[in-house]
Symmetry: C2
Subunit: 200 residues, 2 copies
């Protein structure tokens, strides 16, 4: 296969990108060849520097530690964990400044059609985190489940609520304000702030 089609094939692996859009990306790159060097440099940097937080599974640039800047920040509320589907959701929530606790990235949702089960997500590690907090005798633990109000997000939330019930901790989810079927990252900041305030 030639270099053009090889790269088209690689881009087609991205979520929701078909071969036609992939071909447009490659055409764009060939028209803007300076971008090629920028991408190669950025890919290499990502490969070397970016990693996943050992505690919350957020992507971040490692320096010396295995914990992301949020998990390392002792000023943040240590007994509130906001559970999100993906990395992108953290950025959306952080922008609102309504939440000052820690996060936990599930890495997706339970999805029977796509054969994604609870074991493909970081649920077991969330349970371990809660157990550790309880071992350290930390009180008033709250888990805020901020999955998207889609059917898969709701399924995941219900599963989580059931799994976390035995721990006798406060389990909330984002409250009124989020309309069913929408996804977190497309919600305006004010709606999201209200949803945090009205979590139930």
């Amino acid at each position: 296969m030639d270099s053009i089609n090889s790269l088209i094939k690689s881009f087609s692996k991205f979520p929701s990108i078909g071969p036609r859009q992939a071909a447009k990306f490659v055409s764009y790159l060939l028209k803007n060849k300076m971008l090629l060097d920028e991408f190669i440099k950025n890919f290499e940097n990502l490969k070397i520097k970016a990693t996943i937080c050992n505690q919350c599974f957020m992507n971040f640039d490692k320096e010396n530690n295995n914990l992301c800047p949020i998990c390392s920040d002792k000023k943040r509320i240590q007994n509130q964990i906001c559970v999100v589907e993906e990395n992108e959701d953290i950025q959306v929530i952080e922008k609102t400044k309504i939440f000052n606790g820690l996060y936990h990235v599930l890495g997706g949702t339970i999805n029977p059609i796509k054969k994604i089960s609870s074991t493909d997500l970081t649920i077991e590690m969330l349970i371990k985190r809660i157990k550790n907090l309880q071992k350290e005798n930390i009180k008033n633990i709250e888990i805020i489940i901020a999955t998207n109000p889609t059917s898969e997000g709701e399924l995941t939330r219900l599963y989580l609520e059931k799994e976390l019930e035995p721990f006798n901790i406060k389990i909330t989810h984002l409250g009124r304000g989020i309309s069913t079927g929408s996804t977190l990252e497309y919600i305006d900041e004010n709606t999201l702030i209200n949803a945090f305030k009205n979590r139930v």
Copy 2:
């Protein structure tokens, strides 16, 4: 800026990709780190191998020549040139096997809103090609204008028809079958075959 945000910024430069989708690409890459090496290799190959045909401006992998496989193929009809907006359009037309002449990639359309004028396209080089064919005394030259039936595509076609009028050659465009507002690459093969047969 960290490696994650640098790559998000690079992906955001692609046509029709916003920062949110760019972030999804980066998350996907971090979940599938083997893909990073594949991308680095493919970008480097593209940088070294891919080039633009000196005659028709199609992207291709250069070996020893400066002409693409289509322009180098002497079995193809040498006096028919199909003018397309983008590289992707050639692949769509080639799949139908209805056309066996040569191509010319404009590299876009005239677009007053985006400030793309005729001089940003390869129109001057198309005129040079036609002059050369006439110098070589090649008869029955036909230019098939296969721009998309969008308003920019139509504007470009009308401009081309006016510019090519003085050469006294056959100028056609794709005929009935293409519905206004659609783009070449999303048209099914049969419609495209009919459009070639019914070019006017």
